[in-house]
C-alpha cells in the first residue's frame, strides 16, 4: 500500500531551479574531460560547480594518463597563468612560500591541496601534514590556544571538501591525538609542540608502514593458482598484489574497467609491470566471470561504523554478486580510514558527484547519475585487512568506540 512516492517529480522541479542558477552544460569534448572543471574545483568546489567532489576529481587526476608536462602545456594553451597548482614539487612548498612572502595569509587549504596532488600520498596524510604546518606556523603559547587553532583549521578543511572521508578521519584523528597528548606529561610547551610536529611528519611513514603491514597480513589469503578480482585503484591493494608477486606466488588478476575513471587501465599497467597475468573486464562483465574468480579484493575510501565500506561506484554491485556466488570479499584499508558514519542506505551519505563523459553529446533533458561512490553493507564483506590486523566487520565499531570515547 505504501509504495515509494514518485518523488522524482518533486526532485525535478527542485533541480530545475538549481540548474537555472548554475552554469555548467554537459562537457562534450573527449580528452581531457576534466581539465577546466578540475582547475575550477581547486579554487573552491562550492562556487562554480556546486556539487562536484574535489576528492574524486583529485583521484581522477591521479588515475588519468595525463602527464604533468602535458598539463602545463595544456594550461599554457588555454591561456591561464601557470599557477603553482600545476607544479609537482613535493618539497616543502608552502613553508618556503610563507617564509618568502610574509604578507600572504597562511592558508591551510592551499597547503592541503599541494600535498594532496602527489599521487602516492594518502589523503589523510596530506591532511595531517597540512595541520602540522598549522602548528609550525602558529604563534600560540599554550596548549589550549594551539588546540583551538587546530580545530579551526581542521573545520575549514573539512567544510572545504565535505565528501572526502579520509580527510575528515585524518583531521579527527590528529585533533584527538593532540588533545590526548596534551593531557600527558610534557610540562614544556615547546617540546610538546615539536613532538606534535614530529609525530605528524612521521605519520606519512606510518601510512607507508601501514600499507606494508596490510600487505603482509593478507599474504596468507592469496594462494597459488588463485584468481583475484579487483575493482578500483587502491594503492593498498596494489601493495598487497606487489608483495604477493614478489614472493613468487602464481595468481592472476581480473581488473574491472572502472568507468569513468579508467582505474582498471592504470591498475593493469602497474600489474603488467610486475609480470602478473591481468585480464581487463568491462564493469558489466563481473557476474559473467565471477565463476572463475576465487576472491574479490577492494580498497576503501572509508570504513563506516557498521563495518561496511564506502568505495568507488560499483563496489556494492560486485560485493552482491560475489556474495550470491559464495566468493569472499576482502577489503584492504588503513585504520585511519575508520569514520564515525552510519549510512543506512545509499542516499544517506553526502553526495559526491563527478562529471561523466560519455563521448557523445547528450540531450539536456536526460539526467545522468553522477555519484562517484557507493556504500557496501557489512554482511557482504568477509574480512578487512588493516594495520591493526585482520578484522571481521563487527570489530570495526569496537575499535571506533575505543578511539572516540
Amino acid at each position: 500500500m505504501w509504495r515509494r512516492s514518485a518523488s522524482f517529480i518533486l526532485d525535478n522541479q527542485q533541480r530545475r531551479k538549481d540548474v537555472a542558477s548554475s552554469s555548467k552544460p554537459e562537457s562534450i569534448s573527449l580528452s581531457p574531460p576534466q581539465l577546466s572543471s578540475m582547475a575550477d574545483a581547486f579554487q573552491n568546489p562550492n562556487s562554480s560547480n556546486p556539487k562536484n567532489s574535489a576528492y574524486y576529481q583529485t583521484r581522477a587526476a591521479h588515475h588519468g594518463v595525463v602527464t604533468s608536462d602535458w598539463l602545463a602545456q595544456a594550461q599554457a594553451a588555454v591561456g591561464r597563468p601557470p599557477d603553482d597548482q600545476a607544479s609537482s614539487e613535493p618539497e616543502v612548498p608552502a613553508a618556503a612560500a610563507a617564509a618568502s612572502e610574509p604578507g600572504r595569509p597562511f592558508c591551510v587549504i592551499d597547503e592541503f591541496n599541494n600535498w594532496r596532488k602527489q599521487p602516492d600520498l594518502a589523503e589523510a596524510v596530506a591532511a595531517i601534514r597540512a595541520l602540522a604546518t598549522v602548528i609550525r606556523s602558529s604563534e600560540a603559547t599554550t596548549m589550549m590556544e594551539l588546540e583551538i587553532e587546530l580545530k579551526k583549521a581542521s573545520d575549514s578543511l573539512k567544510s572545504w571538501d565535505t565528501t572526502s572521508i579520509s580527510l575528515t578521519a585524518g583531521c579527527d584523528l590528529f585533533t584527538r591525538y593532540v588533545t590526548r597528548t596534551s593531557a600527558l606529561e610534557y610540562e614544556d610547551f615547546n617540546s610538546a609542540k615539536s613532538r606534535l610536529i614530529e609525530r605528524a611528519e612521521k605519520f606519512g611513514e606510518i601510512s607507508y608502514k601501514a600499507r606494508r603491514i596490510i600487505a603482509m597480513v593478507s599474504q596468507d589469503f592469496i594462494f597459488d593458482g588463485c584468481t583475484i578480482l579487483v575493482h578500483g585503484f587502491s594503492r593498498v591493494v596494489l601493495e598487497v598484489l606487489k608483495t604477493a608477486a614478489q614472493s613468487k606466488k602464481l595468481f592472476r588478476v581480473f581488473c574491472t574497467e572502472g568507468r569513468p575513471d579508467r582505474t582498471g587501465l592504470r591498475l593493469s599497467n602497474e600489474l603488467a609491470k610486475l609480470d602478473v597475468p591481468v585480464k581487463l573486464l568491462i564493469d558489466s562483465a563481473v557476474a559473467y566471470t565471477m565463476d572463475e574468480v576465487d576472491m574479490v579484493f577492494v580498497g576503501a575510501d572509508g570504513v563506516v561504523e557498521s563495518g561496511g565500506i564506502i568505495n568507488m561506484m560499483g563496489t556494492y554491485q560486485i560485493a552482491l554478486v560475489a556474495h550470491s556466488m559464495n566468493k569472499p570479499v576482502y577489503v584492504a584499508a588503513e585504520s585511519y580510514k575508520f569514520a564515525r558514519l552510519y549510512p543506512l542506505d545509499q542516499k544517506d551519505m553526502a553526495p559526491a558527484l563527478r562529471p561523466i563523459d560519455f563521448g557523445v553529446p547528450i540531450p539536456s533533458k536526460v539526467e545522468v547519475e553522477r555519484s562517484a561512490r557507493d556504500y557496501t553493507p557489512p554482511q557482504y564483506l568477509t574480512l578487512l585487512f588493516t594495520d591493526l590486523g585482520v578484522l571481521t566487520p563487527s570489530v570495526v565499531s569496537d575499535e571506533l568506540i575505543q578511539l572516540y570515547l
Binding site: L173, F174, Y177, R180, L184, E185, R199, K202, F203, I206, D220, F221, F223, S335, Y336, F338, L383, D387, L388, G389, V390, L391, T392, S394, V395, D398, E399, L400, Q402, L403
Partner: protein, 417 residues
C-alpha cells in the same frame, strides 16, 4: 638444562606421533611442560620478562612445529606469553607507583640522571601499557617501540633512579616468576574444569521435551547433556554415529547408561531427521578468530542441514580451544588425513591398491580427513566456560586472552643486551 630438554623432547615425540588424543589433554600437558620450563629458567636481574618470553618462545616454536594441526598447543603457548606480559605490567605499574613517591623526594639531591632523557614515571607506565594493548587507532600516532624492548627500557629507567632499589629488584625478580607460575597454575585449573563450567549452563539452553541432535562423541557434550538431565529436564537425543570411527555408538551407550532416551542414526540420515530436531549441540576441535569452527568431519554437513531447517547450531568449546588465527584454506591446511584402514580393510581391496594405470599409481584412493571447517555464519551460538556468545564476538575473547604480538611464535634472534 639437559633434564628440561629431555622432557621437551619426550613431549615432542608424543606430539609428532599423535599419541595424545583430544585438545584438552594436549592443552593440559603443554601447560604443565611450559610451567616446568619457566620454573627451571634462571632469570637475570634486568629484562626478566624478556628472558622468560624467550624461553617460552623457543620451546613453543618446537611444540607448534611438531603438530601444527593441533591448535591447542599454540593457544596455550600464546596464553602463557600473554600471562607473562600481564604479570610484568602489573608489577611494573605497582613498582613505578612506589618509585614515583621516592623519586619526588630524591629529585633535589640527585643530579646525575640528566644524561637520560627525562621521562617521568607516568610516561614509562604509559609506554608499557601501550605495548600491552593490541595495536589500535589510539596508538596509531604514538611511537610504539618493539614489545620486548619495553621491559629493558623500563628496567633501565629503574636503574637510573638509585642504588637503594636493588634489594627491591631482587624480590621483584622472584615475584615475577612466582606470579607467572601461579597464573599458569590457574590456567591448568581452568583447562581441567572447563567441562563443569560449560555444563552448568546446560539448564538455560535445554528445555523440557526437546529433541537434541549430536554427531560423534564429545566429552563436553556428554557432560552438558547429563547436567541437564540432573536438573530433571526430560529430553531426547539423536546421535549420528560419526563414521568411520563410529564414536557415536559409544556416546549412545553412555547416554543410555545415564538414563537418557537416545536414538542412533547414520550420518546420511541427518538431513532426513533434522526437521524433527529442536537444537543441534556439538563439540569442536578449535574455534578460529573469525568465529569459524574446526570440528570433526561431518559437522559441516550437519550445520548446513540445520541452517536449511532453521535449527539452532550450538557449539561447546572450552577456552583453550580459542585460536587467535584467521583461517585461510582451513580444509587443507588445518586438516589431518588419517589411515585409510578405518574405511577399508587392507585384505579386501588389496588388489585394487596395487594396480596402476600406466603411471603406476593405484586406481583407488582412500581419503580419510579428520576435520571439517564450519563457517561462522552457520553457527548460532558458542558456549564457552565464560558464557554464551555470538560468533562475531569471538574476537573480544581472543583480545582478552592473547596479545597481538604473539601471533607468530618464534625464537627471537639473539641480540646483544
Amino acid at each position: 638444562m639437559p633434564d628440561m630438554q629431555a622432557l621437551v623432547n619426550e613431549f615432542l615425540v608424543k606430539l609428532k606421533k599423535r599419541k595424545i588424543e583430544g585438545s584438552q589433554a594436549t592443552a593440559k600437558q603443554t601447560a604443565e611442560l611450559i610451567r616446568s620450563v619457566i620454573s627451571q629458567q634462571r632469570v637475570p636481574y634486568s629484562n626478566q620478562a624478556g628472558a622468560l618470553m624467550d624461553a617460552v618462545n623457543a620451546v613453543g616454536e618446537q611444540l607448534i612445529a611438531a603438530n601444527p594441526v593441533e591448535l591447542a598447543v599454540g593457544n596455550i603457548v600464546r596464553r602463557v606469553l600473554h600471562i607473562i606480559r600481564e604479570e610484568y605490567l602489573s608489577l611494573t605499574t605497582a613498582a613505578v607507583a612506589g618509585l614515583n613517591l621516592l623519586s619526588v623526594s630524591d629529585d633535589e639531591d640527585d643530579t646525575e640522571h640528566d644524561d637520560h632523557p627525562v621521562l617521568s614515571a607516568a610516561a614509562v607506565a604509559a609506554a608499557a601499557r601501550s605495548t600491552l594493548r593490541p595495536p589500535s587507532l589510539q596508538t596509531l600516532l604514538e611511537d610504539v617501540p618493539d614489545a620486548t624492548a619495553i621491559p629493558r627500557t623500563s628496567s633501565s629507567g629503574g636503574d637510573s633512579e638509585g642504588k637503594s632499589k636493588s634489594a627491591d629488584k631482587s624480590s621483584r625478580t622472584r615475584k615475577l616468576k612466582h606470579d607467572v607460575i601461579e597464573a599458569v597454575n590457574e590456567l591448568i585449573q581452568d583447562i581441567s574444569t572447563c567441562h563443569e563450567q560449560i555444563a552448568e549452563q546446560a539448564v538455560e539452553h535445554i528445555h523440557q521435551n526437546e529433541v537434541i541432535l549430536t554427531l560423534g562423541s564429545s566429552r563436553t557434550v556428554l557432560e552438558f547433556l547429563c547436567a541437564a538431565k540432573e536438573k530433571k529436564r526430560s529430553f531426547r537425543v539423536f546421535v549420528a554415529e560419526g563414521a568411520p570411527r563410529y564414536q557415536g555408538h559409544l556416546l549412545a551407550k553412555e547416554l543410555v547408561s545415564r538414563g537418557l532416551q537416545t536414538t542412533l542414526i547414520t550420518d546420511s540420515a541427518v538431513f532426513a531427521m533434522i526437521s524433527r530436531v529442536n537444537m543441534v549441540i556439538v563439540g569442536a576441535h578449535a574455534v578460529m578468530a573469525n568465529g569459524g569452527v574446526i570440528a570433526p568431519v561431518g559437522l559441516n554437513m550437519v550445520a548446513l542441514a540445520a541452517q536449511r531447517h532453521a535449527v539452532p547450531f550450538v557449539v561447546l568449546a572450552g577456552s583453550h580451544k580459542l585460536c587467535p588465527l584467521y583461517p585461510h584454506n582451513p580444509e587443507v591446511l588445518l586438516n589431518e588425513l588419517r589411515s585409510p584402514s578405518e574405511l577399508l580393510d587392507f585384505g579386501e581391496f588389496s588388489e585394487c591398491m596395487d594396480f596402476g594405470s600406466g603411471t603406476g599409481s593405484p586406481l583407488l584412493h582412500v581419503v580419510n580427513p579428520t576435520f571439517d571447517y564450519v563457517p561462522p555464519k552457520l553457527v548460532s551460538l558458542f558456549i564457552t566456560d565464560t558464557g554464551g556468545h555470538n560468533p562475531s564476538y569471538m574476537y573480544r575473547l581472543i583480545a582478552d586472552y592473547y596479545s597481538a604480538d604473539d601471533l607468530v611464535v618464534q625464537r627471537r634472534p639473539a641480540t646483544g643486551s
